[in-house]
Symmetry: C2
Subunit: 253 residues, 2 copies
DNA sequence: CGGTACTTTGAGGCGGCTCAAGTCGAGTGG
DNA sequence: CCACTCGACTTGAGCCGCCTCAAAGTACCG
C-alpha cells in the first residue's frame, strides 16, 4: 500500500506522451501539439492497479478518463438478475469507460486481469479540455463510434455464429491486437480465464474448453492453460471465416 | 416523383421545431434557444421517403443528420458474407446514422419500413454547428452513448436469452417506445416483417412465428399478422424477465 | 381470381447446455 | 520437498431448444 502511494506520486515525473512507447496506439497522438502540452501537465501516469482490483464499479460516477498503460482489463455489465456480462477486454493504449462520458455514471464495472498500470486524466480537466477543443470532441466521437462498431461486431459474433467460429475469431482478434503491441502474434498468454472468455462469447466454459481442445487436436493451435500457440494462422482464419453457413443459423437476409 | 419534389419544397415552410409534435422526443429540445433558431433556418423538414426506399446505403458517405419525423426505419449492416444483420429500428424523433459521424461513412444501410418522413440537417451546417457549440457536442456524445447502451442491451438479449424471452422483450420494447409516441401500448402494428424481427433477435422466422403463436395460445397476446394486441402486460413482462435460467444458458457469472 | 410473398405449422436432427467426474497446477503447510 | 487442497480446466454422457427442411395456409396486388 505504501508502495502504491509512492508510485502514484512518481507517475507525474515520467516521460511525456510523445516519448511513450504506446504513443502510436494512444488517442494522444491525435491531439495538436498545444493540446498535448496541456495533457502532459495534467496526466497522472502509470497508476498501478493490482490484479482483481476494480478500476471502477457499475453505477459509480466517472472520476477520470483512463488509458491502459500496461496489463489488461476486463469490462463487464450486470444483467437484471445480477449476472456478469463481459463486454470487452482492454489492452495497453486503449481507453476504458468511455460509455460513461454522457451520463457521467459507469454503466458497468472494470477489473484488472493482472497487475496493470493506467494513465488518468481527471474528469474536471478533461471536461475543460473538451470545451476548449473541437478537435478533442471529434477524437472522442471517433473513439465512441469505433467502440460502437466493435460492439456491433460482437453482436454478430455472439448472436449468430457457432461456437467454433466464435472461439477462432476470439483467438484471431487477440492475436492481432497483441501483435500491434509488439508481441508475437503466434504465441501469447491469455490474461483472462475460461469463464471470462465463455461469458464474453456467449458460450459455456465447457464449450470453450472443448473447442480449444478440438482446435488443438486438429493441429491448428496448441494450448497449455492460458498459453496459446498458433500453429496454423491460415486454418485458424478459415475457421473464423466460415462465419455461419455450417452449423445452424443463416436464413435471414 | 413530381409530388415528391413538391413536398420537399414545402418542407421548408413548415412549423418550427418548438411547435413540432415530436419536440419532446427530439434532440432539438436539448439545444439552447439560439442554437435552435439557427437549426430552424437550416433544417429541411418533412422529407418524404417511400416504403423500401433507402435513406442511405452502407459505405455511402454521410450527407446529413437525419431525424425520423413519421413512419419507421430499419438499420442494418452487412456481414462478411453479405448477409443482412438488422441492427435496429427507428421511430419518430430518433436520429439515424449517428454511427457515421466519426468516419463520415455509413457502416450500414437504412431503409424505410413504410412511407415515412424525415427532418434533415445538411452535414456541412451540422459540422459548423458542432464547432460552435460545445453543448451540441455534448448532446451528440449523449446520443451516441445511449445508442451504445442499447446495442449492449441487444448483445445481452441476442447472445444469452432464449427465444421466448427475446420475443417478449422485443414486444415490450416496441410497446413502450410506441406509447411514448402517443400510441396505444397494448394495441399496435409492427411495421417490420417476421424476417426482420427474426434477424434482429438472432432467431429464425419460424421460431419467431412459433413463439408468437405460443404466446397467443397462452392468452398473453393476440396476433393478426402485423397487428399485436397485448392482453396481459404483466405476464408478458414475466416472460421477458425470466431472462435466462429456464432453457439453456446461464453459468458464467 | 391467380400469383407471389409472407406466415404458420409440423417432423426431425444437431449443436451446445447441463450435470457429473475426473485431471492438472499453483499455493500452503507439515 | 512432498502431500494436500482448492480452484481452474478438461472430458464425457445425455438432453433440450432451436434450426432445417418441407408443406400448407393466408393476405395483398394486379
Amino acid at each position: 500500500m505504501a508502495d502504491k502511494h509512492l508510485l502514484r506520486e512518481v507517475g507525474h515525473l515520467e516521460t511525456r506522451c510523445e516519448d511513450c512507447a504506446l504513443f502510436s496506439l494512444c488517442f494522444a497522438q491525435d491531439l495538436s501539439k498545444e493540446e498535448r502540452d496541456l495533457l502532459n501537465t495534467i496526466l497522472k501516469r502509470q497508476q498501478p492497479v493490482e490484479r482483481n482490483e476494480h478500476l471502477y464499479h457499475g453505477g459509480q460516477s466517472l472520476k477520470s478518463v483512463t488509458v491502459v498503460r500496461s496489463g489488461s482489463v476486463k469490462a463487464y455489465q450486470l444483467s437484471n438478475d445480477g449476472d456478469e456480462i463481459v463486454s470487452g477486454f482492454y489492452l495497453p493504449g486503449e481507453i476504458i469507460g468511455l460509455d460513461a462520458l454522457a451520463s457521467g455514471k459507469h454503466p458497468g464495472g472494470a477489473v484488472a486481469l493482472e497487475d496493470s498500470r493506467t494513465c488518468e486524466i481527471p474528469l474536471k480537466d478533461f471536461i475543460r479540455m473538451l470545451h476548449g477543443s473541437p478537435r478533442l470532441n471529434q477524437v472522442m466521437l471517433n473513439l465512441l463510434s469505433e467502440e460502437m462498431a466493435e460492439t456491433r461486431e460482437l453482436l454478430l459474433v455472439v448472436g449468430r455464429l457457432d461456437a467454433r467460429t466464435r472461439v477462432a475469431l476470439f483467438l484471431l482478434t487477440m492475436s492481432r491486437r497483441l501483435s500491434r503491441r509488439n508481441q508475437d502474434p503466434d504465441q501469447f498468454r491469455l490474461t483472462m480465464d475460461r469463464r471470462d472468455i465463455a461469458n464474453y462469447l456467449g458460450l459455456t466454459i465447457e464449450t470453450v474448453s472443448r473447442t480449444l481442445s478440438a482446435l488443438q487436436r486438429e493441429k491448428v493451435i496448441e494450448v497449455h492453460g492460458k498459453l496459446v500457440n498458433v500453429l496454423d494462422q491460415n486454418r485458424l482464419r478459415e475457421q473464423a471465416a466460415k462465419t455461419v453457413d455450417a452449423g445452424q443459423q443463416r436464413r435471414s437476409a
